[in-house]
């Protein structure tokens, strides 16, 4: 896949080098003045990850077909991982000592599936009003809320997704608001707290929304009531955020110059938007229609930020060239359509047509059922493309569910492909995962065996299901 949009633009690199280390210009201790030392520092990570990998053994899966996630298909090959990292893969590997060896004859190995769009934990099962914490529908701009503060880690949906080979996912707020709040990336190792699942080093995202949801929700509550009202709302917020950013920049400039300066008043809403303008927070924008996505790319240019991915992007096929030129990924369903007007022009070939234009295509779920079979959603899109002459290899298509989502979430340096040095987020499939019959047999996250279909005693069971009917049953 040639469209490594975020990497090409340096967004991810910027994020990783400067991103979570410190904020603004405060990472320059050279001005040793007392003033600089006392400068107000905003902690960019007040809810830090406490994730611990599941203990792992040195593991070799051999005689297996491997999709490496960067376009390669290795037949009859082996993969080795040790201490949570991939240490070797190929046809000619050196067998490590004391390794657990798994014979993969007839089976397939792929990178773990990464879903860019999930509401697990924030709209959990059971679907009760008291647990529906996914959308702060109290104002069109709620960039101050963070989805991680709504995540209920005992949502049984996490375990279901794990059985489908999902190793990481982005949890987003809902789409009622123009700015819905921060997203969070989780490792799919269900544990006691959100922090226990939080993906270390993953940048934050922000959920934004186009189209009919904001106007439906706020039309009778002070607006926006139209799509033009939506756009006015984004622009107003970006103007405010630019001003806020300037205040902080000015503050740090003065501090650095050894002058007296009063720190601006913190504003959580603006802090998130400032993070976007500084390239630290990635925009994930719910947007169906081609014309609206194009308007949003103009807004993006106007205020000089980057949209990581349009979500749903049901009409992405109509502007695949523009998406390519603007380096914006599209997170899409294989075939959902028609449930509302902005989804009425959905077609089965959306994903391969976007890919074929050289733009970045992602297959996402937005569903606690769909997330369990993203390999099948990818396979459908792949075969639909093939039938209209868009010939994409299986190895390339797999990037729609691992490498491209990882890139659009800013975690491709850690996961999303099977390369030496990367996290051992690995799925062993019972057969070719492009078949309906294939199932995830073993799912490794950071080398730890998180799910083994053949070992029911060790299937994870959420607190909610423990002691209930059929706890620990095949799910």
């Amino acid at each position: 896949m040639h469209s490594t949009s975020l990497l090409q633009r340096g967004l991810v690199i910027g994020l990783l080098s400067a991103g979570l280390a410190a904020c603004g210009g405060a990472d320059e201790p050279s001005s040793a003045s007392a003033k600089a030392k006392d400068a107000v520092q905003i902690n960019p990570d007040p809810f830090p990850s406490t994730y611990q990998p599941i203990p792992s053994a040195t593991t070799v899966i051999q005689n297996v077909s491997i999709i490496d996630g960067i376009g390669g298909l290795l037949e009859n090959a082996s993969i080795v991982f040790q201490d949570g990292k991939i240490t070797a893969l190929g046809n000619d590997i050196v067998m490590p000592e004391n390794a657990t060896v798994i014979d993969g004859k007839g089976k397939w190995v792929t990178p773990g599936i990464i879903d860019t769009h999930s509401h697990l934990g924030v709209y959990p099962s059971p679907d009760t009003r008291s647990h529906a914490d996914g959308n702060e529908m109290t104002s069109p701009v709620t960039s101050q809320v963070w989805a991680e503060h709504s995540v209920w880690p005992f949502d049984p949906g996490f375990q279901r997704a794990l059985a489908g080979g999902v190793t990481a996912m982005q949890i987003l707020p809902g789409s009622a608001n123009l700015f819905g709040g921060r997203t969070v990336v989780l490792k799919n190792v269900p544990d006691r707290t959100m922090q226990d699942m939080k993906f270390p080093g993953a940048p934050y995202g922000i959920k934004m929304a186009c189209g009919e949801n904001p106007k439906r929700v706020y039309g009778n509550k002070g607006g926006p009531g139209t799509r033009m009202g939506n756009v006015a709302g984004y622009r107003k917020a970006w103007i405010q955020a630019t001003d806020y950013k300037n205040q902080w920049d000015e503050y740090y400039t003065k501090i650095d110059a050894g002058e007296d300066a009063q720190a601006p008043k913190r504003d959580l809403q603006m802090e998130t938007l400032k993070g976007v303008l500084e390239g630290e927070i990635i925009v994930h924008m719910h947007c169906y229609r081609a014309d609206e996505m194009t308007v949003m790319m103009d807004v993006m240019q106007e205020f000089d930020y980057q949209i990581g991915s349009f979500h749903h992007a049901v009409e992405a096929y109509k502007i695949a060239d523009k998406l390519r030129d603007n380096n914006v990924c599209s997170s899409m369903w294989a075939d959902w359509w028609g449930f509302k007007m902005e989804a009425y022009d959905g077609i089965r070939e959306n994903v391969p047509m976007v890919h074929n234009a050289g733009a970045c295509a992602v297959v996402h779920s937005d569903s606690d059922i769909g997330i369990q079979r993203l390999n099948q959603e990818m396979a459908k899109a792949w075969s639909d493309g093939k039938r209209v002459g868009i010939d994409i290899s299986k190895a390339d298509a797999w990037q729609w569910v691992s490498a491209n989502p990882a890139k659009s979430l800013g975690i491709f340096d850690q996961t999303g492909s099977l390369e030496v040095g990367k996290n051992a987020d690995v799925v062993l499939w019972t057969s070719d995962p492009f078949s309906t019959n294939a199932q995830a047999e073993k799912v490794f996250i950071d080398g730890g065996l998180a799910f083994d279909r053949n070992d029911p005693e060790n299937w994870p069971v959420s607190d909610f299901e423990l002691g209930q009917i059929a706890a620990g049953d095949v799910k």
Binding site: S125, P126, D127, T128, P156, G157, R160, E212, R216, Y317, K318, A320, D321, D335, W336, W337, G338, F339, K340, M341, Y344, D345, G346, I347, R348, E349, M353, A357, D368, I369, Q372, R373, Q376, A379, K380, W382, S383, D384, R387, V388, F434, S435, T436, N437, A438, Q439, F464, E465, Q468, I469, A470, D473, V474, K475
Partner: protein, 419 residues
């Protein structure tokens, strides 16, 4: 190859009605006594299946359609849909699968009398989308209603005209948590209301009616309690499903079909004994409510293994995904033939339509699909669909949009590009 086939089919479209032709050489799942034939010839005449012969046969007077290497099934039947009743459900105008109770009171108090056969629009864009993927017929009915009953559903062919196969073909009722929520807020109100309504309907007299039920409701339900048409009951938890079984026993002729049945596997033996078929979404495996805690992907397989007739296909815009649902049921323990039956013969049987549709044998409507391969595989597709012996045009609004945008390099604006 595909283009070649399409060329043949294009000719057929114009001549098939009243004509005779043979589909030759495919692996045929008859879903009838002949079972699966590795290579067979299907003779079609005047819109009906005339015969199914073993092997590839040349029969004089029958135009040949070469389907060697392909798989043929009966046309699939949408088991539980609102096809023809809605175009776009949300904020997009009229939806005939949703009931405005306020203005229905002069007709009905319980909703049994609602009749969707008047509401079916065979020009709906959803119909070509469904049929080019192998669906040739569907049960359709009200989806949202505040009444106890969701009215009388219909069976339709997915054709542009003469679509109605059977009106007033079944009555639906929802006794899940959400059903109880709408009727008195508790099952303690809902179930006596349901039982009283059916009891009263036993006494329906068209000439002289002064019961508590509206006359229209009583008449609709009289066909149900007489066993002429099935009563579809949506229930999920074990306790509710046991009530459904008890309901069937209480009314001797009642012909109950369980719908949704998330925990049906827990009473699979009882359902099999009571001869109650089940329409399910086999992919539903989350404890979405306290009446669905036992949800599992193994549901379909466990039901089928116990001898329950299972039907699969609860969707409208994406009823086409029922093949994937059935494929996943099979991947999780359902015997393969039961997976196919869940999309064809079992659906026909549930609605009493099995003399007309749902299998490939002499006398059946020639609703036939030629697939590129195994229809339960997500990477395979319907290559040609026949309804009543007519090769349908394999186009929909979606394929038109696709073909318009396949090449973004156009000299003129897209609205001038006609695929």
């Amino acid at each position: 190859m595909k283009r070649f086939l399409l060329a043949i089919f294009a000719c057929l479209t114009m001549t098939a009605h009243g004509a005779q032709f043979a589909i030759v050489g495919a692996k045929v799942h008859t879903m009838a006594e002949q079972g699966t034939l590795e290579e067979a010839t299907i003779l079609i005449k005047d819109g009906y299946i005339q015969d199914v012969l073993k092997g590839s046969q040349t029969v004089r007077g029958y135009e040949q359609i070469n389907a060697k290497g392909k798989v043929v099934t009966p046309g699939l039947i949408g088991a539980y849909t609102a096809l023809g009743l809605k175009e776009v459900g949300l904020s997009a105008g009229q939806v005939d699968s949703s009931v405005d109770m306020e203005h229905a009171e002069h007709l009905t108090s319980l909703g049994a009398a609602l009749d969707v056969s008047y509401a079916i629009n065979s020009d709906s864009s959803l119909i070509p989308v469904a049929r080019i993927e192998g669906f040739t017929a569907a049960a359709t009915n009200i989806e949202r209603s505040g009444f106890l009953f969701k009215g009388q559903g219909a069976i339709m062919h997915l054709t542009d005209d003469d679509a109605l196969l059977k009106s007033r073909a079944f009555v639906s009722v929802d006794v899940t948590n959400s059903g109880a929520d709408r009727v008195g807020g508790t099952r303690a109100v809902m179930w006596p209301t349901l039982i009283n309504a059916l009891t009263e309907a036993l006494e329906f007299d068209n000439e002289d009616w002064d019961g508590m039920l509206s006359k229209a409701d009583a008449e609709a339900l009289s066909h149900v309690v007489a066993g002429h048409i099935p009563l579809l009951v949506m229930a999920d938890r074990k306790a509710d499903i046991l009530q459904v079984i008890a309901l069937q026993q209480r009314f001797a002729k009642l012909n109950v079909v369980l719908v949704n049945g998330v925990e049906a596997w827990r009473v699979a033996e009882q359902l099999a004994q009571a001869n109650i078929p089940v329409i399910i979404n086999p992919e539903y495996n989350l404890p979405g409510g306290f009446d669905r805690l036992g949800a599992t992907l193994a549901n379909a397989g466990r039901l089928a293994q116990a001898g329950v007739d299972v039907a699969i296909g609860m969707e409208t815009h994406n009823i086409r995904l029922a093949t994937q649902h059935a494929g996943n049921a099979v991947a999780n323990g359902m015997p393969y033939q039961d997976g196919l039956a869940a999309l064809t013969s079992n659906v026909a049987k549930i609605y009493g339509m099995d003399k007309q549709v749902g299998s490939i044998k002499a006398g059946m409507s020639a609703d036939v699909v030629i697939w590129s391969g195994d229809p339960l595989e997500v990477t395979e597709a319907a290559e040609q669909v026949f309804i009543k012996g007519q090769a349908i045009e394999m186009r929909s609004r979606q394929t038109e949009l696709r073909d318009r945008y396949l090449d973004l390099e156009q000299a003129r604006p897209m609205s001038y590009v006609r695929p």
